[in-house]
């Protein structure tokens, strides 16, 4: 009995060796984590299917978690030696993940920095620490000006010619705003929504167009408490206070006002395309964010990156490298664009003639060449500082300079606390 079983085992092992030798190595399983968002899951499932077809000896296990638990799960799993080999994380979390030794630098043989800098959009540099890249995005997002063609037409504006500069934007807003006899706002010229995307618009676009910069080059110092800061913030607040072309909190949210046809213009991200796609009552268009007084354009881009965790070693590391390389190919980016609506992170994949001339994707894609990605150390905390800044100016009628000084002090404390710990 025992002898017979032994023979069988031996035979099976021999067959295994032979067939294994044919497939070069045995099957390696790696785990991939991302948060729950239907379109992203479908896109990733499709990518995994294609990857496994091309690499039959690698199996990718796709695990997802609700967004609210996502970081907590990663933090619990990785120190215990569990969890993903390749993980998706928000670019703003990078420093925390590197400090916690959750992710490793991308191996330079598979991902040479020179290649990354040549092929990807410059915003990817936010993933670089001490000359090494820690993650690569499949897709990125940027901001654009959404405008309601119907309201433009009613106001006598050409719906094919959205405003190109901030001055033109103000003029268009003045023409499209509607008020009743008592002065109550009925429809906005442009939405004012700092909790939406306006805080990015002010910090990365309006501020820079006035010659300022939000942070020092090493991101350790807040630098918006400046002439440019005051000028840009005043311009923004005057939309409500002086020109009365919009009002923070109107229809609760800027995107809600726009969707209801009660705002002629709003500034929002490419991730809003899905929601605005359901609008039935009017036609809308997308334009690049208006240029500043000196004609300069800026934009804010953000993205999720894929990184290799410190858990992946040996053959799992090799498999992870292959997988990461695959999900950042132009092919994968096109799959992602079609399924999720997020923009390709590689220039070559993004700037095809078809994509650039696309009336909706075009403006977002052009913006990627002049976008900045803010480096956050505590995204929620820094966002709160920005919201307070806007409220001081809009609600408390504080002078822009004083409000900026207070905000800079609060945000500097957040930055100092973070960099002191490292």
């Amino acid at each position: 009995m025992r002898g017979f079983r032994g023979m069988l085992v031996g035979l099976a092992a021999a067959v295994g060796v032979i067939s294994g030798a044919q497939a070069q190595t045995q099957t390696v399983e790696i785990e991939y984590w991302q948060y729950v968002f239907d379109a992203r899951i479908k896109a990733m499932d499709e990518l995994i299917k294609r990857f496994q077809a091309a690499n039959p000896n690698i199996k990718v296990k796709h695990t997802t978690f609700p967004y609210a638990d996502y970081q907590t799960k990663i933090a619990a799993a990785l120190p215990a030696g569990q969890g993903p080999d390749v993980v998706q994380l928000f670019y703003g979390w990078l420093d925390n993940f590197v400090a916690a030794k959750f992710i490793q630098p991308l191996p330079k043989d598979a991902f040479p920095p020179a290649m990354i800098e040549k092929d990807f959009y410059p915003i990817v540099s936010a993933m670089k620490r001490d000359g090494e890249y820690y993650g690569l995005p499949t897709a990125v997002r940027s901001l654009a000006l959404f405008y309601n063609k119907k309201l433009f037409q009613e106001a006598g504006l050409d719906p094919a010619k959205p405003p190109q500069t901030t001055d033109e934007l103000l003029e268009a807003a003045k023409k499209t705003v509607k008020r009743d006899g008592a002065g109550n706002l009925l429809s906005e010229g442009i939405t004012l929504d700092f909790p939406g995307q306006d805080y990015h618009w002010w910090r990365e676009v309006l501020l820079r167009q006035n010659g300022g910069a939000p942070y020092s080059d090493d991101n350790k110092k807040v630098t918006y408490d400046s002439e440019a800061g005051a000028k840009s913030l005043t311009w923004y607040a005057d939309l409500q206070k002086v020109h009365k072309v919009g009002q923070a909190g109107f229809m609760d949210e800027g995107q809600a006002a726009f969707r209801a046809g009660r705002a002629a213009m709003t500034i929002d991200g490419s991730f809003r395309l899905g929601a605005f796609g359901n609008i039935k009552g009017f036609e809308w268009g997308v334009a690049e964010l208006p240029a500043g007084p000196d004609g300069k354009r800026f934009n804010f881009a953000s993205y999720w990156v894929n990184a290799i965790t410190t858990k992946a070693t040996g053959e799992k590391l090799e498999a992870s490298k292959k997988f990461l390389a695959f999900v950042t190919t132009p092919e994968a980016m096109q799959v992602w664009l079609d399924a999720v609506g997020e923009l390709p992170a590689r220039k070559a994949a993004a700037e095809t003639d078809k994509n650039l001339s696309h009336p909706i994707y075009g403006p977002f894609l052009k913006a990627l060449n002049y976008s900045n990605a803010t480096v956050f150390v505590d995204e929620a905390g820094q966002r709160q500082v920005a919201l307070d800044l806007a409220n001081r100016v809009l609600i408390q009628n504080q002078d822009a300079k004083a409000a900026l000084a207070e905000a800079a002090k609060a945000e500097q404390a957040i930055l100092d606390r973070f960099y002191a710990k490292k």
Binding site: N184, L186, M251, D252, E253, G381, D388, N391, R392
Partner: protein
């Protein structure tokens, strides 16, 4: 085999050697052990852990490092904390008396209504059954500026200027408090009604024979005899207002805690510090402060309960 058998005999012998009374004690403790263990494990252990975490700089991702009382020192110097502390106290000192006064007035009059009594009582109780989040969103829309906001529509119809409500640093706290009071009202009314019904009618008959006025009856009979009910409701609603969260979070999501933290209660600050900024040590320090505040309030109220 032998070991097991011996053990069995010994245990049987021990059990048989006990008196009936002792057996009952053992049984009682046996049953009590379950909730005690449960409490120790899911209540006391995490509470102790929170005290420990409050002395570290744990950020969820890296190993916690001991920082002593640094988190508490930071808390004392944090203007947001004092603002939030003030808000929490305001929720308590406005919310509790206003809701109790309203509930008592309604219950006192409802007690005398015979016509559709049950139906009216059900109407008052209904908001208590509603999900706080859903209710908060409806009220959030009530407070919006004109095209969608009900209150502002009414105001402008009568020619009054629009009010910012939730978008104001002064009006937002009462605006958030109103639906919270309204939602708890039904419960308090029902408890008050039960309390009123429990007062023996003989007292009232005697008072009426003596020709005492309604006001005196209220002051001398009804309220003193309602004392246990009132104390229960004070304790209950105080704890509720100290822990207010759902209404605030849902009515001000986007800028959680209202403009310039005007409506942010301590619980929301803890939530944000822990699960948005992942500053676990600092959040634990805030939790310890909330724990001490709740403990102090409860102790004071328990003392009031004792000298009945």
């Amino acid at each position: 085999m032998t070991d097991q058998a011996l053990d069995h005999v010994a245990r049987g012998g021990f059990w048989r050697g006990l008196s009936l009374r002792r057996k009952q004690v053992v049984w009682a403790w046996g049953f009590l052990a379950v909730p005690i263990l449960f409490y120790a494990l899911i209540r006391f252990y995490p509470t102790g852990e929170a005290f420990y975490i409050s002395t570290t700089n744990w950020n969820l991702l890296t190993k916690p490092g001991f920082v002593g009382l640094a988190n508490f020192k930071r808390l004392l110097g944090d203007p947001v904390f004092w603002q939030v502390f003030r808000n929490t106290v305001l929720y308590l000192v406005i919310g509790t008396p206003v809701s109790l006064l309203l509930a008592f007035t309604i219950a006192y009059h409802l007690d005398r209504v015979r016509f559709m009594h049950g139906f009216i009582r059900a109407l008052y109780f209904l908001p208590f059954l509603t999900t706080a989040a859903a209710m908060a969103w409806v009220w959030r829309w009530f407070y919006q500026p004109v095209p969608i906001g009900l209150f502002n529509q009414v105001l402008s119809t009568f020619g009054f200027p629009q009010q910012p409500f939730l978008r104001s640093t002064t009006q937002s706290l009462p605006s958030v408090l109103a639906p919270a009071i309204w939602a708890g009202l039904g419960f308090q009314v029902v408890i008050f009604l039960a309390g009123l019904r429990a007062i023996p009618t003989t007292y009232y008959e005697a008072a009426r024979i003596d020709g005492v006025s309604d006001g005196t009856i209220l002051r001398r009979i009804t309220i003193p005899l309602l004392r246990p009910t009132i104390i229960f409701l004070v304790v209950f609603s105080s704890i509720g207002f100290l822990r207010i969260f759902d209404q605030v979070y849902n009515m001000t999501s986007g800028d959680p805690g209202g403009p310039l933290n005007a409506t942010k209660p301590l619980v929301l600050m803890i939530y944000q510090t822990a699960f948005s900024s992942f500053d676990m040590g600092y959040a634990a320090a805030q939790t310890v402060v909330l724990f001490l505040a709740l403990l102090a309030v409860s102790l004071v109220q328990l003392r009031l309960l004792r000298d009945r």
